[in-house]
């Protein structure tokens, strides 16, 4: 691959930035949240656990990190990837110093929250990981950069190198890429399940160990304090949503991941092995909603979907879908239900539940009260009672309810959902695309 490196060095900085940010844009993990770190004298910046969006791109996705590749020169040939060796595209390579300077200058102007550095595999895994590590050393050591850094661990790189980088990064991720081993073999012939899972468990071990050490000795250096995340491409291969949600659940459990990201596959090649359709955005959105139920609402993967080849409904959000299949649990009395039960009511998110719990301490609530509290009853009203009364007479029949819940949507489902329905989801969704 050296002939690339020769010609790419002549590309000017602007051109490099364009190439290497465009090449990184399909990577969705953009959250900068998860660590709170105060600034110190003599260093630049801080990290904020609640996550700050600095701008929103024309596709409506949050931009909070300078998300770039070190290089898009790759020795591998994954079929779903625009940077694959066999693809004829302009290539570029950043030096660690160039990346550090961009990061610092963007940060000082408050364009960004930090850096998200990923890379194709240039020369080999170790060389690539070394360059990433160099960049981190410059940023943390020379520039005293104290802001957020997320890097990719390159599968196949030396353990020692990955560990060393982990002490300088806030978050690391290894992409699981595709939801099954068969798909991986078919579409990413150079990768194996093991090569991906190995660095993942290495990171997990490091994180657990470091937490124990930090608990004992406060001065112990912390390893990947914002945890690890991963990403998989949805729609490039035939797995069902059930399969994806099961995998997601087990990743959270087995590798204590902080986040699993989904990326709707955007066609980047006309390889007959791959679909050539528009990116399945609504499906991606539903998966994020399901993921939300897993992480914050106490649902298990088996509750969300039952059958192995089942997919999430595109018309109904996963919580509504679950509620319609479990109508025996409804309606729920607003004045007595516990938190967990309240959170299972379609349309009631964390913030609404909190308000209800607080307000009912000083008085019994009616539907009028709920409206005043700013609780959206559009969906919730079919599933709750206030002081024993329903909002309107309606039979608890799944088909009738489904009709009620989907009317007025007129195909604008994605837009509506991503904007107003669930404030909590909006906050999170907004910071993550």
């Amino acid at each position: 691959m050296y002939h690339y490196a020769e010609s790419v060095n002549r590309v000017d900085q602007m051109e490099k930035l364009k190439i290497l940010s465009a090449a990184a844009k399909y990577d969705v993990a953009c959250t900068s949240s998860g660590v709170d770190r105060n600034a110190t004298r003599g260093s630049l910046g801080s990290a904020s656990a609640c996550g700050i969006c600095h701008t929103f791109a024309a596709d409506g996705r949050c931009v909070s990190l300078l998300k770039i590749l070190l290089t898009n020169v790759c020795v591998y040939d994954c079929r779903y990837c625009a940077n694959r060796r066999s693809n004829d595209i302009p290539r570029a390579v950043f030096t660690p110093r160039e990346i550090a300077e961009l990061t610092i200058n963007f940060y000082k102007r408050n364009y960004i929250e930090g850096l998200f550095l990923s890379s194709s595999v240039i020369r080999d895994a170790n060389h690539t990981m070394e360059q990433i590590y160099e960049t981190l050393k410059l940023l943390r050591g020379v520039y005293k950069f104290n802001g957020y850094i997320h890097i990719k661990a390159i599968p196949g790189a030396d353990e020692g190198l990955i560990r060393a980088a982990g002490f300088l990064a806030d978050r690391m991720s290894v992409n699981i890429e595709l939801p099954s081993e068969e798909s991986l073999n078919r579409l990413a012939p150079d990768k194996t399940k093991e090569s991906i899972l190995k660095p993942m468990s290495l990171l997990k071990k490091g994180i657990v160990q470091s937490r124990e050490e930090v608990a004992l000795f406060h001065s112990a250096p912390s390893f990947v304090p914002a945890g690890q995340s991963t990403q998989m491409i949805v729609g490039a291969s035939p797995e069902s949503d059930k399969k994806i949600i099961d995998l997601t659940e087990s990743l959270y459990k087995r590798y204590s991941l902080k986040r699993v990201f989904f990326s709707a596959y955007t066609p980047v090649s006309d390889n007959p092995l791959l679909p050539s359709v528009k990116p399945p955005l609504l499906r991606e959105h539903r998966l994020y909603q399901a993921d939300w139920l897993l992480r914050f609402y106490g649902f298990s993967a088996d509750e969300i979907l039952k059958n192995p080849d089942e997919n999430l409904s595109l018309n109904l959000d996963p919580k509504c879908h679950w509620a319609l299949n479990n109508l025996n649990m409804f309606p729920v009395e607003i004045n007595t239900a516990d938190t967990r039960t309240l959170l299972r009511v379609p349309g009631i998110g964390a913030r609404s539940a909190e308000r209800i719990l607080s307000a009912r301490r000083v008085g019994s609530l009616t539907f009028e009260n709920l409206k005043k509290l700013g609780i959206v009853l559009k969906r919730a009203r079919y599933f709750i009672t206030c002081q024993g009364k329903m909002y309107e007479r309606i039979s608890m029949d799944p088909e009738i309810l489904e009709m009620k819940l989907t009317e007025n949507k007129l195909g604008g489902a994605y837009k509506q959902l991503s904007l107003f329905d669930e404030p909590a989801l909006l906050a999170e969704g907004a910071s993550e695309g």
């Binding site: 969006c53 409506g60 200058n105 990116p279 000083v362």
Partner: protein, 258 residues
């Protein structure tokens, strides 16, 4: 009817609370001087701001109501709503009766209003911690302008005092004519009359261009969604935000030198 008029500051409001109890005047309305309409059926009292009293009131709120109530009072004062002080006084008075439970009385329109305003203030300030853009000037000071609906400047100044601790900066609220000026030690918020003369450093244009190029190239064109973008970064913020500013060379040379 009793109406209190005061200078609109936090200390001023706390002095009104003091007067409400010690002068035994349970005000029905509280307004900032200059933003109210005289009603015939009300008696008006101008309440002077007395920092010594306001400190005592703040302490009392912390002890007898809650720390949450203290922060609610601080943030609610920053809201852009003429009626906020009236609701805030009712809220504080309820607090002195009900203690920390006051925050549960969301059925009370004043409590709900205070909560909503506080949320709005915090939400807008949070957005601005992301949207605020600094320019590097020749003198090495970083300059940013904003024009928020609520008075977000005090919250922003606290944020950037941490984040950009080692560089001097100015955040200028052009709508209110005030600016926070930070000298690497501490900041002060003062009125500014004229728009300051901002002379950009030699590198500034280059980094702005690099940033705009980055901004354009990260959008995935198959997923374009300008409506969503407009909801997430509303137009009213954009005039201060580098990546939404016109960047033709003509514009740069003709633009007033900020």
């Amino acid at each position: 009817m009793l109406t209190a008029i005061f200078d609109g500051s936090l200390d001023g409001f706390l002095s009104v609370v003091y007067s409400c109890y010690y002068d035994k005047r349970p005000y029905d309305y509280v307004y900032e001087d200059g933003v109210y309409q005289q009603q015939l059926d009300s008696d008006y009292f101008y309440v002077p701001t007395e920092p010594a009293r306001s400190v005592r009131v703040m302490e009392a709120i912390g002890k007898r109501v809650s720390q949450d109530a203290q922060t609610n009072v601080c943030y609610c004062c920053l809201a852009n709503d003429k009626e906020r002080f009236t609701s805030l006084l009712r809220y504080v008075r309820l607090g002195f009766k009900a203690g920390a439970a006051a925050d549960n009385y969301l059925q009370d329109p004043h409590v709900l209003k205070v909560h909503k305003l506080v949320q709005y203030v915090l939400r807008e300030a949070h957005l601005l911690t992301g949207f605020c853009r600094f320019k590097e000037t020749k003198s090495g000071v970083y300059y940013a302008s904003i024009s928020p609906v609520n008075n977000a400047l005090p919250i922003l100044a606290e944020h950037f005092r941490e984040r950009l601790m080692n560089q001097p900066w100015v955040i200028h609220d052009t709508a209110r004519g005030i600016a926070a000026v930070y000298d690497c030690n501490d900041y002060r918020i003062d009125p500014v009359k004229n728009s300051p003369h901002v002379d950009c450093s030699d590198d500034e244009a280059r980094f702005q261009e690099l940033w705009r190029a980055f901004f354009d190239s990260v959008a995935i064109k198959e997923r374009l969604n300008k409506d969503l973008q407009r909801n997430l970064i509303p137009l009213r913020f954009r005039k201060h935000v580098t990546e939404f500013q016109n960047n033709s060379p003509a514009f740069i040379t003709q633009a007033p030198r900020l």
